[in-house]
Amino acid sequence: MLVFDGLLALLILGLAWRATSSRDLFESIVVFIALGLMIALAWVRLSAPDAALAEAAIGSGLAGALLLATWSRIEPQTDDRVRAFSWSWALVFSGLAVGLLLAFAQIPADGQGMMDEVQAHIPQAGVAHPVTAVLLNFRAWDTALELAVLAWAWFAQQALNRDHTPRYQALDGEVLQTFAKWLTPLVLLVGAYLLWRGATEPGGAFQAGAVLAAGLVIYSLAYQHPWRAGRLNDWVWRLSWVGGFWLFVMIGLVGLAMGVGFMGYPPAQAGGLILLIEICATLSIAFLLAAMFSGHRDTETLASKSNKES
C-alpha cells in the first residue's frame, strides 16, 4: 500500500496547489471537490473513518454545492494577471513544512495519546464507540461550543447578505424533481442509520447532520426555493438552528445542579441523554448547513414576495 499512499499524498498536494493557483474560479471549485474526495480517502488510510465520513459529506458534497452557489452569485471573473511567484513566501512555507516533518518524526510513534484513559472510562460513558464517547461525554463542552460556532457562522452569514438565494437556472423535464423525490427517503434513512451507528461505530451527529443537510439541499435545488419548513412558524424554524446547542448545555447545567459537574451526566442516564442530544444536534446541524446553502427569508419578506407574484 506504500505506492497507494504515496500516490494519494502526491495527488492531495497537487490538487491543493491547483485549487489555489488556478486562474479559473470554476476549475478551482471542481478541483476542490476532487480534493475533498482525496482527503476523505486519506482519512480512511489514517484509520480515522469518523473524519472520513465527515469529510466525504461536508468537504466534497456540501462544500462543493456551497461554493458553486456562491460562484453563481458573484461576477464572472477570470484572473488574467499571472500571479507573481513569491520566493519569500515559498521559503517561509517550505521552512514550516520541513520543521513540521522533523517535529512529527520526533514525536513518539507508538504514542497512544489518551486512548488508554478513554478505553478505561468507556464503561461509564454510556456509548461504546470511543470517538462518540469523547465528543459527547468526556469533552462535551468542546462539542457544544462547536455547535455554537456553526450557529454563529450562519448568523454571521445572515448579517452579511440578507435575502440572498442562489440563482436557479431552468431545466427541461422532471428528472430532477423525480430524483429528489426518490432520494429524500433514502437520505433520511442513511442519516438515521449513521446517527444510530454512532453509538458503537464511526458515525454520529455531525455526519448524520451533514447527510440530512445534503438531502435538504437537493430538495431546494429541485424545487427552486430555499428549503423552509413548509407552513411551520418562522420561529420554530429559527429555533432549530440553536436547539441542539441549547439542549446540550441545558443538560450540562442539570449535571451541574445534580453535582456531577457542568457538562456532566448522571452515569445511569448517560446513554439516553447522549442519544437525545445527538438527535437534536443532528437536526440543528442539518438545518444550519442547509440554510447556509439556500439562504433564509423571513416569513414577512416571503409573504410580500408571493403577493407581488400573484
Binding site: 431545466l171 427541461d172 423535464g173 428528472v175 430532477l176 430524483f179 426518490w182 432520494l183 433514502l186
Partner: protein, 107 residues
C-alpha cells in the same frame, strides 16, 4: 469440495472485479480522448454503471452475510440513480452549450 467452491468463487471475483476495473479505465480513457462533451458523457456513464456494478458483483461473491449483500446492492443502486440523474442534467447543459456554439453565439 468446499475448497474447490472457494477457489471458483475467488476466481469469479477476480474476473468480475478485473472486468469492472477495465470499464473504469475505459471510461477514464474515453473522458480523456473523446472529442465532444456529449461523447465524453457517454464514456462516464459506462464506468459509473458497469464498472461499479461489476466490482460490486465481485465483492458480493465474497460477502459473508446477506446484510452485506444488501448494503452492496443499496450502494450500487444509489450510484446508478444519482449517476443517471446527474448525467442527464449535465447532458442538458452540455447540449445547450453545443447548440450555442453551433449557432455561433458569444457569451
Amino acid at each position: 469440495m468446499a475448497e474447490a467452491m472457494g477457489l471458483i468463487l475467488n476466481g469469479l471475483s477476480l474476473l468480475l472485479i478485473g472486468l469492472g476495473l477495465a470499464f473504469f479505465m475505459a471510461g477514464t480513457l474515453g473522458v480523456l480522448r473523446f472529442s465532444t462533451p456529449l461523447n465524453r458523457l457517454h464514456a462516464v456513464t459506462k464506468a459509473d454503471n458497469l464498472g461499479l456494478g461489476l466490482v460490486v458483483a465481485g465483492l458480493i461473491l465474497q460477502a459473508g452475510s446477506w446484510a452485506l449483500v444488501f448494503k452492496y446492492l443499496i450502494i450500487w443502486a444509489l450510484v446508478l440513480l444519482s449517476a443517471a440523474a446527474v448525467s442527464h442534467l449535465i447532458g442538458q447543459r452540455a447540449y445547450q452549450q453545443t447548440r450555442q456554439t453551433e449557432s455561433g453565439e458569444t457569451p
